[in-house]
Structures are given as structure tokens and as C-alpha cells.
């Protein structure tokens, strides 16, 4: 950044090449890993000793095993494509060298997170990605939401109208939710160190089985609290949809493909701790299933294309958590869904970005329609990703979602509930995703007069095409021809453990049919509503009572706002008014009044303050002495 001016033109290419180089290195290391037999595939790179003292030994140790290799490949691979895309997308932004440096810093932090061999190094990456996310969400700090004025022109809205999508408040929200999660991570870390005396993964996981049930549950739930923050699960998911105020490549990279999966990765990485606590696994399962359903319902009610995709991400993350909550039968399925989701959701976001790029940064789905012919590449690649997320047979999403649901079904008990919710949610997913593509690319043209939608430059469409191909074939390629998930699962087995038995093929086929059938119903309903000449806006008005809660995100934000803004604000104002006599003056009236008051009526006012300060000292002293002397 210090050389910004000179390198501005090249910043994007330098950043992209750096990440692509990381991908190549990761790929080489991956093949090297494959050359070892299964059980020897964990390599630990002893890094420089951060420090040792007493019992605590912390070093920059990195771990290269199948799980971290998988994550590293996804992170660097998807990042390379998104960096490339960003060169086109951020072409006209005057601070793009800053943007690329932060994007690179993000990738570096993410790699630290997935390659860590102890909790501290992981926490370093965990904090790093959070910080980058915060900075990148707020990147367009001075840009407001675009709204259509009564004349049909696109104008910048007032910050008050669009409080929740304006970048700085969105960044703040992301920050707050993540910090709540970080409390969980920190406390879990302290608890782990207090009980096992180490932060190294091998040592901690070795002792995880011997933990008392209560301790294991506490650690696991604290870790999961961290996950709900980072991976946007109930109740902390609310930051993710607002985070869409950031540039779209950021949404694709950080808020869909990589960072938000960190929580899923954390559960998989620390699976021995979760296995030691059945309670924690049940909580993860229920939160995952509940979030999947809740977010899918809300997604139906959104008109902003990025918000639809954001809630869809929250919902899909719920599936991943269902997978990793199930124990050995689900880990591979959850991780597979993580990988396929990274591909198709990155494509969907980049496609949405391409749509915005060609439509003057508009994001309102009501202003599109019939873009199919204007943006053919964007259209076809988005349809590929749509097929994947909806679960059209033999696309990647079909395999991964199917495996998650099959694992839930086989798990039995509470897993059956998760399975039922998952299947129903699959139908909802098909509906809202079909609504998204139909309203955007099909039907009549609804864009305002004078707009000329156009296809994006090749630097943006090439990543779209690559991701679309991956979205179609990744599931097929990663699983064996039997559809049993054998190869992928076998690859991860040394880390995550082997499931006990496999279900019969016939039952699996029946289960797939259920989910796929429901998805087909969802898609057909969407087709009836949104592609056929049909006044769906009139329908929406007629059913306003049912529509409004969905459009208002089931009022979760309002409830949170009441507790944080109203109650928190009242508390802060109270503190400022009654405890810090001068702080609020600074906040409200500016320093000017302070100057005036201290200059004009200084002596009288200030001596009063000193007296009250002295009173505070006296009161404290009396309290302390009284406590010490009169305590029984």
C-alpha cells in the first residue's frame, strides 16, 4: 500500500498471481500427500517456537493432513478465481490497491487458520479473517444503497432510509456478532489449556476422550458459539446478509466460499471434542437444521439479489453443520457439501456481481427479467450453479446434499428430525433459487428506461465459466461411481475417523428421490409463478399477511435492534450522562462547548467537578473499609 500510486495499475495482477502461486504450491503438496499411504498422511511442520514457558509451549506449527489440504486447496483455488474476477469488477475503483492488499491478507489469514496445528495459531488466523472481513465489508464506507426514485432513476438513498445496508453499520454488525463468537473461542481455549495443559491439537485430541462429560460439553459449546459467529448460524447469523454491503467479490470469497465455512471446519477439526459430548452434537444438529429452515424461509421474501444469496448461504451452512454434527457418518458429507458449496455459491455471487456490473449496480430483482439474451455467459453459468444448489441429479450439489441427508437419516433418532427439515428445506431452496433465476433472466424485461444491460469483460466471465464447470462436475468427480462417497470419504478417514457401516443402496436411492422430488415441486411452483405471464406482485399484495414476515426477515433483526440499540443505547446514554459528565458533551455538542464552558465559567464549574470526584474517592474508601472491617 505504501507504493500504492505506482503499483495501482498492477495491484490486481500481482495479488492474483500471488494467490495463484499459493494454489500451485498447495496442489503440489497435495499430490505429495497422496503419495503416502493413508495413515501416514499427517505431516506436521514444526515452525519457529513462538515461545515456551512453564507448561505452555506455543510454536508456529503447521499441519498438513487431508483435512487441511482439502481446505487449503478450496481456499486458494476459489480465491485465485475471485481475485481474477475482481480485476475486472474493481476496475474503476480508485482504492483498488487497498482492496487487493486486504483481499490478499484475508487469504493469508485463512490459510493460517486451516493449517494451524494448535489453537493459538488457529486463533491468530481466526482473528485475522474477522478483521479483514470487517475492513472489506466497510470498504465502500461512503457509498449508500441505490434506490429507484419515483421517476425511475437510480439514485443514492439517504443513510437513514437504508440504515442496515449502508456499509459502516453493516461492518459494525459483522464485527459485533463475530466478537461475541470470539469470546467463545477464547474461553474454550482457556478451558482447554486449564484441563489438558496444552493447546497443541495432537495432545488435546489425545486427551479429549478422557475429559469429564461436563467439561467436554462446555468446551464444545463454547467452540460452537465461535462457529455460530463466524459461520453465521442462529442466533448470530444476522450480520451476514448485511455484510452484502461490501464489494461483491468479497461477498463471494469471504461471505460465501471460505471464511464462513471456518466454523464447519472448526467442528470437523475438533471433532474428537464434540464426540465426547452428545449434548453438544445435538445442539449443533438442531441449530444447523433450524438455521437451514429459517434462512430458507427468509430467502423467499427478499427482493435484493445479494440478500437472497446471503440467506441461501446461511441456509446451506446449516446443512454443513447437520453433516458434521452427526459423527463419523456425516463428517465427509458435511465437508463435501462445504467444497461443492464453495464452487456453486462463489459462482452465484460472481454471477450476481456480473448482473450488477451490467445493470448500473442495481440489486433489486424487480428491475431485471429477460437478461438471458443480454448476458448469455452470465446466464448459462448461473444456470449451472442453480442446477447444483437445487440438486439436479448428477450435479455437485445433488451428491453433497444427498449425502448429508442420507447420513442424517441413517443416524436415526434426532437425525430423522434433521432429515425431515433438510428435505423440506431442499424444496424451499429449489423454490427461492428458481425464483431468483427466473425473475432475473427469464420473462419480460422490467429494467428502467435508458439502461443497457451488457455482458461483462472476459476477465470476469472466465472465472464464472470455470466455477460453473466445477459446480457441475465436482460432486461426480469427488465421489466414486457407486455414488457412495467412497473416494472422498476414504481420503478424509485418517483425520475424521471411519463410519461404522454403510446403508443399503436401495434405501439411499429412495431418500434421494424424496429430496429431489420435493425440489422439483419447488422449482415448478416457481416456474408457474414467475415465468408464466402472471401478476405475481398482485399475488404478493393479496397475501400480504403471509408475505410481510418473510420480507421482514421474520423480525429477528428488529428484536435484536430493540435489545442492542434501544436498551444498549439507553444504557450508554445513562452512563455517559450520569457517570461521565464530559464525555457526552464531546459526543453531542462537540468540543466547542467544552472549550466555551471551561474558558468562560471554568472555575465554578470545575471546582464542582473536583468536589464530586473527591466524593467518589471518599465513597469508594468508605465502602472498601466498611467491607473489610464489618464483613462477618
Amino acid at each position: 500500500m505504501l507504493f500504492g500510486q505506482r503499483l495501482r495499475a498492477l495491484a490486481g495482477w500481482i495479488a492474483t498471481l500471488a494467490v495463484a502461486a499459493a494454489f500451485v504450491v498447495a496442489l503440489a503438496a497435495f499430490f505429495e500427500l497422496l503419495s503416502h499411504p493413508g495413515e501416514e498422511r499427517t505431516q506436521i511442520l514444526r515452525g519457529y517456537e513462538w515461545f515456551t514457558s512453564g507448561d505452555l509451549r506455543v510454536a508456529f506449527d503447521l499441519r498438513w493432513d487431508p483435512l487441511s489440504a482439502l481446505m487449503a486447496l478450496v481456499v486458494t483455488g476459489v480465491s485465485s478465481l475471485i481475485h481474477l474476477y475482481s480485476i475486472g469488477y474493481m476496475e474503476h475503483d480508485e482504492r483498488r490497491e487497498t482492496f487487493f492488499s486486504w483481499l490478499n491478507l484475508f487469504v493469508a489469514s485463512m490459510l493460517v487458520l486451516v493449517l494451524a496445528q494448535n489453537f493459538l495459531v488457529m486463533f491468530l488466523g481466526w482473528e485475522g479473517v474477522g478483521l479483514c472481513s470487517y475492513l472489506l465489508v466497510g470498504f465502500w464506507f461512503n457509498r449508500r444503497l441505490l434506490v429507484v426514485n419515483p421517476l425511475g432513476r437510480l439514485v443514492e438513498g439517504e443513510p437513514d432510509d437504508t440504515r442496515e445496508v449502508w456499509a459502516p453499520p453493516a461492518a459494525k454488525k459483522a464485527f459485533l456478532a463475530n466478537r461475541i463468537g470470539d469470546v467463545g473461542f477464547l474461553l474454550a481455549m482457556f478451558l482447554i489449556f486449564a484441563t489438558t495443559g496444552s493447546l497443541d491439537f495432537d495432545v488435546v485430541f489425545g486427551e479429549a476422550g478422557a475429559l469429564a462429560a461436563g467439561t467436554a460439553t462446555a468446551i464444545a459449546l463454547l467452540l460452537f458459539l465461535a462457529c455460530t459467529g463466524k459461520s453465521a448460524q442462529f442466533p448470530l447469523y444476522v450480520w451476514l446478509p448485511d455484510a452484502m454491503a461490501g464489494p461483491t467479490p468479497v461477498s463471494a470469497l469471504i461471505h460465501a466460499a471460505t471464511m464462513v465455512t471456518a466454523g464447519v471446519f472448526l467442528v470437523a477439526r475438533t471433532h474428537t471434542i464434540f464426540e465426547a459430548s452428545g449434548t453438544a452434537q445435538t445442539v449443533v444438529l438442531l441449530v444447523g437444521a433450524g438455521t437451514a429452515l429459517l434462512a430458507a424461509l427468509i430467502a423467499i421474501g427478499q427482493d435484493d439479489i445479494k440478500k437472497i444469496l446471503a440467506y441461501s448461504t446461511v441456509s446451506q451452512l446449516g446443512y454443513m453443520f447437520i453433516g458434521v454434527a452427526l459423527g463419523p457418518i456425516g463428517y465427509a458429507a458435511g465437508m463435501l457439501h462445504l467444497v461443492t458449496h464453495a464452487f456453486f455459491k462463489a459462482q452465484l455471487f460472481l454471477g450476481a456481481g456480473s448482473v450488477m456490473h451490467g445493470n448500473d449496480d442495481d440489486t433489486d430483482i424487480k428491475h431485471f427479467g429477460g437478461l438471458r439474451s443480454a448476458m448469455p455467459i452470465t446466464f448459462w453459468t448461473t444456470m449451472a450453479a442453480w442446477a447444483a444448489i437445487v440438486g439436479v441429479p448428477f450435479t455437485s450439489g445433488f451428491y453433497s446434499k444427498d449425502q448429508v441427508l442420507a447420513a442424517a437419516f441413517e443416524h436415526g433418532g434426532i437425525g430423522l428430525l434433521a432429515w425431515a427439515i433438510g428435505v423440506f428445506t431442499a424444496g424451499l431452496t429449489a423454490f427461492y433459487m428458481s425464483r431468483y433465476v427466473f425473475l432475473t433472466f427469464f420473462g419480460e424485461r422490467r429494467w428502467p428506461e435508458g439502461r443497457h444491460p451488457h455482458e461483462s469483460p472476459p476477465v470476469m466471465t472466465v472465472p464464472l465459466i470455470v466455477l460453473a464447470v466445477l459446480a457441475l462436475v465436482a460432486g461426480f468427480a469427488l465421489t466414486t461411481f457407486t455414488g457412495e462417497g467412497g473416494r472422498f470419504q476414504a481420503f478424509l478417514e485418517p483425520v475424521l475417523g471411519a463410519p461404522e457401516e454403510h446403508e443399503s443402496l436401495a434405501a439411499a436411492a429412495g431418500l434421494s428421490a424424496a429430496a429431489t422430488g420435493l425440489a422439483a415441486v419447488g422449482a415448478i411452483v416457481a416456474w408457474l409463478l414467475y415465468v408464466r405471464p402472471f401478476d405475481w406482485l398482485a399475488l404478493r399484495r393479496r397475501w400480504a399477511g403471509a408475505w410481510r414476515p418473510l420480507a421482514e426477515k421474520l423480525y429477528v433483526d428488529q428484536v435484536y435492534e430493540f435489545f442492542t440499540v434501544n436498551l444498549g443505547g439507553a444504557l450508554a446514554a445513562f452512563l455517559a450522562r450520569n457517570v461521565d459528565q464530559r464525555g457526552i458533551d464531546g459526543a453531542v455538542n462537540g468540543v466547542a462547548e467544552l472549550v466555551g464552558s471551561s474558558a468562560r465559567s471554568g472555575r465554578r464549574l470545575q471546582s464542582g467537578l473536583v468536589r464530586s470526584y473527591a466524593l467518589g474517592v471518599l465513597g469508594g474508601a468508605v465502602l472498601i473499609v466498611a467491607f473489610l472491617v464489618f464483613r462477618p
Binding site: W50, L176, V183, S612
Partner: protein
């Protein structure tokens, strides 16, 4: 009978004078007197000369500290003790003093304006340091009181050294409230003497185990001692002076107060409470823990609503005092509490000095503000800093992230160790509060970075007055930044040094 009363009837028994034990203090005193004479008889001496002499005095004291490094003994019949706390605090204090000298040397001079602060500030700085170093070594309550008064009197004058109204007001407030709290401390000393028959910490430690001693009197004395120390380290509810004083006083002095007073204050806190009064831990721990909770939460909560960086740093220093109190609360039963607190002081001193240096740097960019309020340190002045002064913004980022406690910077390890000591001492609930407070604090530290990095500069950048170019501030900033990063990357040696401070000699 009181020792002074005895002196009228019989010759005063003089302790053996152990010159070597107090050699660093002597060096500081001599340097201070020399500088005072230079200022008095050579009024035209440049700032550079004075700063050079001050640094020479500090270097001599540092050399003597190193010479004494392995010395562990009680000198002056128990009035002064040389142990780990003493030498660790000496080293940190002298380093802080050197950085503060560089900041003062830079001064507030702007192009075409006379120096704002008088040259007497250099000898005062040395005398204040003398008091602090002595305070860290004192093992008799009377020496504690004398040392505290030496440093307080010097600081009162330093706080009001400029003719700015805000500085004068700050000095007056600090003086009035400081005198008030000194009275509590003195009364506490008297009660302890009454209960145990001694002001010597070793003898008090013995007496706490003695069932015949007057427990109530002693506990009241302990409470009043706590009040005096809590005031010096600006813990809630004795903190109210801190924001006003830090905001009004010249930035170098504020930095010195924030860093050095805390180091000396907590050193004596640990020695008296964790050392001498360790036997009464069950009684005083709830008081210290309660003060820690209040201090952390009130400091963090009020920092959130500040719009002035100096004031925000004042509240931040309050909340850091809260984390340190967690260490003090743990220290009586867990030796790691002592080393964790000492290490915290080391890292905190450099982080907070660095943050104030950036404030000083930025305040000198714009035209002088209204004289009454002092320097330009409103958050508004930091908008777009990254564009105009990338290095200053980068260092600001380092210090803010370190104060937040984000790894791998030094502040993270400081918190980590203190929290760990808290858990080992069974104060898990206190650590939970501390973690929550540090989460709140992240909000206002990072907000500064958002302003500096993500907001457009206001006004015309060309209108900035060029800062008076002396390398002093740049060197100081570089050192503070380097230390903050280096300690974070390789904290091991300094932790090990802190561990040697765990054994308290009386």
C-alpha cells in the same frame, strides 16, 4: 513509641548505608540536580542539550541497574529491597523515561512558535522517575509514602507545565485529588503501624499471622492502603481524575503518566498486597476483584462514547488497570500472577506510549487549536490519516491492535498470561468478565483504525502545517513500534525475566 519521638531522648540509630543498593536512584537524583542547575544558570541551553543530558542520566542509571542485576538483598534495615520486582520495574521505568524524554524533546513547537513547555520539565522528569524507581524498591511503608510523594509532586508540576488553561486545570485537579488520596494512604500506614507495631513490610508480614494483633485495625489500614494505591493506578471508583488530566496535560506528560505511574504503582501494589499482606488474601481479594470488575467494565464502556483520542486512551488505561488488578488478585496465591502482571506492565507501557506518540505526531499537523482545550486529538483529526501519513497510520494500527490484544502483538500475550494466572488462582468468573471487557474494548480501538483507514480526510491536506522536524519523535515511535511487535513475536526471554520477579523479598 514513634521512632521520631525517640530521637529527642537518645541518639538516632542510623542504618548502615548501602550505597550500591540505591545506586540507580542516586544517579537519577544527581542527574536531576545537575539539570536543575543547568536550567537555572544557562537559560539559553537548547532542548537538544537538555534532552541529551537527561538521556545520559538515564543511561547511567540503566548501567547501574545492570551492574546490580544479580544483587538480591534487603538494604537499609529493611527499608529498601532488591529483588526481581525491583530490577524489572527499574528496567521498564528507565526505558519508559527515555521514550518520554524523546517525546518531551520534540515538544509542541510548531513553525514560528516559541516552545510551549519550559525546560524545567527535564529535571522534573528525572525526579518523577526517581520517585517511581524508589517506589518499586520500597519495602517500608514510610519509604513507600516518601517515594509516592516525590513522584506525585513532580507530576503535579509537569501536568501544569504549560500556560494552557486546560493543563493548569488538569494539574490543579490532579493535585487536589492526589493530596486527598495521599491522606488516605498515610492514614492507612498509621493504622497498620498501630496494629502491627511496624511500618516494615517484612515485620507486617510476620504480624499478619499473629493472632494477638488487632485484626480490625489492621484490616481498616489495609483498606485505606488499597484506596491510596487504587487511586495511583486509576482504578474505579478512584479514576475520575484520569480522563480530565490526560486530556488537558501535554501529550508527552500524559504518556509518561499513563505508562510509568502504572508500572511503579503496580510494582508497589504487588509488593505490599501479594507480598506483605499475602496472609490476609482472603480478606482483601474480594475488594481487589470487585475493583477489577468495575475498573475493566467502566473503563471499557466509557471509552466507547469518547470522541477524543486522548480521552479515549485515558479510559483505555483505566480498563487496562482492571486487567492488571486481575493479576494482583491472583498474585497472592499464584506466583505466576506476579510475573504475569510485571510482563503486562512492560508490554502495556510501550503500547500506550506509542499510542500517545501518534497523538503527539497528529496534533502537530494541524494549526494550533484553541489554547484553552489543548491539543488536536479529536477523532476527526484522524480521518484519512492513512492516505496522508501512511507510516503514522501503520504504527497507530500496531498500537491499537496491540492494546486490543490481537495476536501476535505483545498485548495479546500480556492478557493471555494475566488471564491464565487468574484461572489458576480459581478466579475464573473474573477472567470471564475480563474477556468480555476486552471484547468491548476492541470496538473503540478498531474504530480509530476505521477512521484512519476508511474515512476521507476532511479539509485541504495542503493546509497542513509542516511539523517542526526533529528526529526525536520519529525515533521514539520507531522504538515503541519495534518493541511492541518484537515482544509479540518473541516474548519468551522477557517472560522468563518476569518469572524471576515472582519471589518477593519483603
Amino acid at each position: 513509641m514513634h521512632p521520631l519521638a525517640q530521637a529527642t531522648t537518645q541518639p538516632l540509630p542510623l542504618p548502615e548505608v548501602d550505597w550500591r543498593a540505591i545506586a540507580p536512584e542516586l544517579a537519577l537524583a544527581v542527574a536531576g540536580v545537575v539539570l536543575l542547575l543547568v536550567v537555572a544558570f544557562w537559560p539559553r541551553a537548547g532542548r537538544g542539550v537538555l534532552a541529551g543530558l537527561t538521556l545520559a542520566g538515564l543511561a547511567a542509571a540503566a548501567a547501574l541497574t545492570v551492574w546490580n542485576w544479580d544483587l538480591e538483598r534487603v538494604a537499609f534495615e529493611g527499608a529498601v529491597s532488591l529483588d526481581g520486582i525491583t530490577r524489572y520495574a527499574r528496567a521498564v521505568l528507565l526505558a519508559v523515561g527515555a521514550l518520554a524524554t524523546l517525546m518531551v524533546a520534540q515538544g509542541d513547537s510548531r513553525e514560528g512558535e516559541p516552545d510551549d513547555s519550559p525546560p524545567e520539565v527535564f529535571p522534573l522528569l528525572l525526579f518523577a522517575l526517581l520517585g517511581m524507581v524508589l517506589l518499586a524498591a520500597a519495602s517500608d511503608l514510610l519509604v513507600v509514602f516518601i517515594a509516592l510523594e516525590i513522584l506525585s509532586l513532580s507530576l503535579y508540576v509537569m501536568a501544569g507545565e504549560t500556560r494552557r488553561l486546560a493543563a493548569q486545570e488538569a494539574a490543579m485537579k490532579y493535585f487536589l485529588l492526589g493530596a486527598f488520596s495521599s491522606a488516605f494512604l498515610l492514614y492507612g500506614i498509621a493504622l497498620c503501624y498501630g496494629a502491627t507495631g511496624s511500618t516494615n513490610l517484612l515485620e507486617i508480614a510476620d504480624a499478619t499471622g499473629d493472632p494477638t494483633a488487632d485484626g480490625t485495625l489492621l484490616l481498616a489500614g489495609v483498606g485505606l492502603l488499597a484506596v491510596g494505591f487504587l487511586f495511583k493506578v486509576s482504578a474505579v471508583p478512584f479514576h475520575m481524575w484520569t480522563p480530565d488530566v490526560y486530556q488537558g496535560t501535554p501529550t508527552p506528560v500524559a504518556a509518561f503518566m499513563a505508562a510509568a505511574t502504572k508500572v511503579a504503582g503496580f510494582a508497589v501494589f504487588l509488593r505490599v498486597f501479594a507480598g506483605a499482606l499475602g496472609g490476609l488474601v482472603v480478606s482483601w481479594r474480594p475488594v481487589i476483584a470487585g475493583a477489577a470488575v468495575l475498573t475493566m467494565l467502566v473503563g471499557a464502556a466509557l471509552a466507547v462514547v469518547q470522541t477524543d483520542l486522548k480521552r479515549m486512551l485515558a479510559y483505555s488505561s483505566i480498563s487496562h488497570a482492571g486487567y492488571l488488578l486481575v493479576g494482583v488478585a491472583a498474585a497472592a496465591t499464584v506466583p505466576a500472577g506476579v510475573s504475569a502482571s510485571m510482563f503486562y506492565l512492560l508490554t502495556y507501557a510501550f503500547m500506550v506510549m506509542g499510542a500517545f506518540m501518534v497523538v503527539q505526531y497528529v496534533s502537530r499537523l494541524g494549526p494550533p487549536d484553541d489554547d484553552a482545550i489543548g491539543e488536536r486529538s479529536s477523532l476527526e483529526d484522524y480521518r484519512g490519516l492513512a492516505r496522508r501519513h501512511p507510516w503514522a497510520a501503520g504504527l497507530l494500527a500496531v498500537f491499537m491492535l496491540a492494546l486490543t490484544g490481537i495476536p501476535p502483538l505483545s498485548g495479546f500475550w500480556a492478557k493471555y498470561y494475566v488471564f491464565l494466572a487468574g484461572i489458576e488462582a480459581g478466579l475464573t468468573w473474573l477472567v470471564v468478565v475480563a474477556v468480555i471487557s476486552s471484547v468491548i474494548s476492541a470496538f473503540f480501538y478498531l474504530r480509530v483504525l476505521v477512521v484512519a483507514y476508511l474515512q476521507e480526510p476532511v479539509g485541504d491536506p495542503g493546509a497542513e502545517t509542516a511539523p517542526g522536524r526533529t528526529p526525536a519523535l520519529g525515533v521514539a515511535l520507531g522504538l515503541a513500534g519495534l518493541l511492541t511487535v518484537a515482544i509479540g513475536l518473541a516474548p519468551e526471554a522477557l517472560i522468563a525475566a518476569a518469572r524471576s520477579a515472582e519471589r518477593i523479598l519483603g
